[in-house]
Amino acid sequence: MLSVVLIPLLPLLAVLINGVFGRKYLKESAHYFAVGAVAISFILSISLLMQMMSGAMPIDVTVYSWVFGGGIDIPIGFLIDPLSSVMLMVVTGVGLLIHIYSIGYMHGDEGYYRFFTYLNLFMVSMLLLVMGDNYLVLFIGWEGVGLCSYLLIAFWFEKESAIKAGTKAFVVNRIGDAGFLIAIFLIAQQFGTLNYLEVFDRAHQLSTGMATAIALCLFIGAIGKSAQIPLYTWLPDAMEGPTPVSALIHAATMVTAGVYMVVRNHAIYDLAPIAMTVVAVTGGATAIFAAPIGLVQTDIKRVLAYSTVSQLGYMFLGCGVGAYAAAIFHLVTHAFFKALLFLGSGSVIHALGGEQDIRKMGGLKAEIPVTALTFLVGTIAIAGLPPLAGFWSKDEILGMAFKGGHPVLWLVGMTGAFLTSFYMFRLFYVTFTGETRMEPAVAHHVHESPSVMTVPLMILAGLSLLGGVLLGFPPEQGWLHDFLAPMIAGEGAEAHHDFEIVDLALMAGSVLVALAGWWTAYTMYVRKPELAPFWAARFRGAHTLLLNKYWVDEAYDAVFVEPSKRLGRAWGVFDRIVIDGIVNGVGRLTTSGAWLSTWIEKYILYGFLNVIGYSNHLGARVLRRLQTGYVHHYAFIVVVGLFLMVYVILWWHGDNFSGLLVPR
């Protein structure tokens, strides 16, 4: 229990320490706390994994009541089961490596302490995300990683593009979050609780319609976080952040949160076939949609970014066809090789003093051999060549798609696989082989990264080499499947499936496709380098389309961003002119009424009286001698009044007339 709580708590303490004391006191030694905390978390995670492997029951720890009242009690609580322990391993393990790597990469940066603070804050959020025992804790992590993503993308806050990318990432993520929130509301309304175990226990009570609604809303969240169509545009831009960030957040952990979430909620998805189809189709579409862009990108990190989008598509494809374990498997392997690739690219960038354009690289193999070698391992792994990690996991997803009766999706996946292999080898060849195209000033300083950076690369390369076999061999029955089985049991086809000839055929197909990609890249970029510009010129339209990323960003700007701004401006004017105008108009109406009343007062009421007065006055001017004032008017009336009074009295009491004057 304590160890469970400590896992996110330690990085949080590191955040506090670095955040408060970093700027003044810790400065360049900020990483001690940061790395130390993550390392301990990693060790604790291992112990938890061991516990799970030994077949212990899931651990559900409630720390304290967070939001409660009105029949709902949402605690801060953690759930450790096979799925979350696997995720813990990925997060803390890869996270630790990237932390270590960052010591070298960020060395000398002004915001060193700040970087580690953010990075640890990210760890906290990500750990909450995967460890939470209810949707709201998941959501804390969910938004928390978004926040850290924002902070880290905009880490170099003087760089215009970085800031814009950060804001974009946050806002686009929020769109997904809105869907996620609605899903949470639906779940809370349906079940009266947000605890996973309770929800999944009673999930079968849901109607199909409701299950579909919840599943789709959850998936909107996943789309945002995991950069799927149509909300993927933030991820390539997010490459503006420091490279370890790209590795950790935008490849290995945060972006896979959507996959984790879908797998976690498989109990609901299983009830909603339509939602499953949507997930599968979205995944497939993203896989095939993003990959071609990778073909033409010239920024080393952007190629990887589109590759990530594409790979995440595979994971969702897996989820959508019910291959949850395969999806998680791919998540894990992808974490290995994509982190490796990113860190490798970081090493390149580091070596080249910040250069990211592959057109200005080439022939780096000799200059930075460790990086080149490990990068090659990553490339082969992602390309899907056996026996490296990517092969096993990707093949499993594709196999499941085919056998699950989704040949179109399988075909899409295969095409994607070809493209992946092609652009990744392209990247490798252009960067590391051939003639150097470096600018002389840069070339002069090229150096291999320090060991604090290369060791993580090597570890990751090892994992990319062996991880697939260790975790997922034999296919569909590997260790990971068995481990996750209790968690995602009952899905028939997956649990006990004999290895058949069709599987072998599919595997062979995959290998062939990957090799074809390799061969094509080799032909175009090594053997006949003139081919690349030729094809580009030949298919100018397509090339331009890809180069501009299908103009999706521009389209979004035109359809959503600009209209919003215009609406804001228009409403601002409306507010000032119409609404405020009404208020002021009422005021003016009142003053107009006041003016009218004053006019009436002056010219009608006064006027009426004054005309009488004036005739009097004229009379007075005639009788000049009496014009000493108007007392006489008054006196006159008083006298008349009193006379009248006396007269009436006397008239009424005529008989007393004499009595009044002459006493009887």
Partner: protein
């Protein structure tokens, strides 16, 4: 106890006595003159405070009766007495008189005569409130108007634009006809006296018809009461309307109000205070004392008319006040607007609203008294009442500014002032019979705030014209005393109005009982 037996006489005649003494004092001896005026008014004031607390509201009815036969044959007697309705008004009159003496402290031009007239004015007003004989009620009523003429004509001031109108070339123009010398104090005085006398004559006709109609040979209000059924319905209504419009012209009810702002504007501060504070309430009071008291059933029939006219008063007065440049015009129109609330309360014919109306009369006396006193003070300092040419005086006279805020609060009826209690009760009472009028009336409150704030800002905020560099705050205690008294009264009775409410409701209750039981009797008769 002898004091109690003659309490009303003391209140009534102390100022009179002061006036008479002043006749024999040399006008040169200013301090003596002022002291005599102050002492005599203080006696009256103190006695009325005593009256408020000595009044036995548990018993109700008319108390502190004093009756002296005057003419047996005509049925006239000098008959004094107060009920819950008159007590607060007596207090208001004597309080404003006392305050007014100090407000006028710096008058040096024929001060003796001024004080004589002022004392007569106030005591005549008190006379109306304490008379239980119609003859003397009318007598005091007329007498209260009388001193207004010299007070305006001699000590008043011309209002803005007066000089333009002296231009002889313009004298025969059409504009002149429509705006006939309306800026001179003589005009104001004339208009005021003419108007009020005309109203008085109309009311007098009603009084005489009543006298004649009952055939009781008496002007004694108590004896006259309960004979409404002797009149034919037509005659009854005719008398009631004569009384109503006759008295309402002093109140002033729209559209008979046009004398009032001019009168306020031309008058010296103390006179404006008394005028707006208590003289105008003679109208309401007399309607209640004569119209309501003698013709309860007719009152019930005609109450709707009051409710309609009062709304015009409120809104129209408020709107016109908005565009006035002259401080006193603003307050004057505001007063005539606020009289509408009193009429609304009177129209609703139930305990809470009638009590509220009477309480509001008292409250308004204090609020408007404060405002007029301050407008007067500013005028004394700057010799102008033109709002646009003033401004920024707040720095020079913080005390006056602070007091003005309280006066504004009171006038708007913000809680904490006695006006609020009155307003609240009027609204509470009139909501059920007249919901629409009630809502319009509350909107009128917002209008009140608008023009008073406009005036406040115009006087005290903004840039100060360098030519007002010499003005100073009300620093001697003499200058502050009247304001402090009124502020204290307004806030004290705003926070602790209980005594007042008990006293007033004890006076209102019998009147309403008459109105509603008379209706019941009539209904029963009609049914049978």
């Amino acid at each position: 106890m002898t004091l109690d037996q003659h309490l009303l006489s003391i209140i009534l005649f102390a100022p009179f006595a002061g006036a008479i003494i002043l006749i024999f004092v040399s006008g040169e001896r200013l301090t003596l003159v002022r002291t005599i005026a102050a002492v005599s008014s203080f006696i009256s004031f103190a006695a009325s405070v005593y009256l408020l607390y000595a009044f036995d509201y548990g018993r109700g009815g008319f108390q502190f009766l004093e009756q002296y036969e005057w003419s047996k044959d005509l049925g006239i007697s000098f008959f004094l007495g107060v009920d819950g309705v008159s007590v607060p008004l007596v207090l208001a009159s004597s309080l404003l008189l006392f305050a007014g003496i100090f407000v006028s402290w710096h008058i040096e031009d024929r001060a003796r005569e001024f004080y004589i007239f002022l004392l007569i004015l106030a005591s005549a007003t008190i006379g109306v409130y304490v008379s239980l004989d119609l003859f003397f009620l009318y007598f005091f009523y007329e007498m209260s108007v009388l001193p207004m003429y010299p007070l305006l004509g001699v000590w008043g001031s011309h209002t803005k634009g007066y000089l333009e109108m002296k231009d002889t070339a313009k004298r025969d123009s059409l504009a002149f006809i429509f705006n006939f010398a309306s800026n001179s104090k003589e005009y104001a005085a004339m208009k005021l006296t003419l108007f009020l006398s005309a109203g008085a004559v109309v009311a007098l006709l009603g009084i005489l018809l009543t006298y004649v109609g009952t055939g009781l040979h008496t002007f004694n209000l108590i004896e006259l009461q309960g004979h409404e059924q002797q009149f034919t319905p037509f005659l009854r209504s005719a008398i009631w309307l004569l009384l109503f419009f006759g008295f309402a012209s002093i109140a002033p009810l729209w559209p008979m109000h046009s004398w009032s702002p001019v009168g306020h504007a031309a008058a010296p501060a103390a006179v404006s205070m008394l005028h707006a504070g208590v003289l105008m309430k003679l109208g309401h009071f007399s309607i209640i004392r004569v119209g309501y008291w003698l013709f309860p059933q007719t009152t019930k029939e005609w109450a709707g008319l009051i409710a309609i006219l009062c709304v015009f008063s409120i809104i129209y007065g408020g709107l016109v006040a908005f565009f006035q440049r002259d401080t006193k015009y603003v307050i004057g129109y505001s007063s005539s607007s606020h009289m509408g609330y009193i009429f609304l309360g009177m129209a609703a014919l139930n305990m809470i609203s009638m009590t509220g109306a009477v309480l509001y009369m008292f409250a308004h006396a204090l609020a408007t008294g404060m405002l007029f006193a301050m407008a007067g003070f500013v005028y004394d300092q700057t010799h102008t009442r033109d709002i646009p040419s003033l401004g920024g005086l707040g720095r020079k006279m913080p005390f006056i500014m602070g007091a003005f805020v309280i006066g504004l609060m009171a006038s708007v009826g913000l809680p904490g002032t006695v006006n609020f209690i009155g307003e609240l009760m009027v609204l509470a009472g009139s909501w059920e019979p007249y919901p629409v009028q009630t809502v319009i009336a509350v909107v009128g409150i917002a209008i009140t705030l608008a023009y008073l704030m406009r005036m406040f800002m115009g006087l005290f905020l903004g840039e100060m014209d360098p030519k007002w560099a010499h003005v100073h705050d009300a620093s001697p205690i003499i200058d502050r005393l009247p304001l402090l008294i009124m502020i204290f009264g307004s806030l004290y009775f705003g926070l602790f109005p209980t005594q007042f409410i008990h006293v007033i409701s004890s006076g209102v209750q019998p009147i309403l009982e008459q109105i509603h039981s008379a209706g019941a009797v009539a209904a029963a008769r009609g049914g049978g």
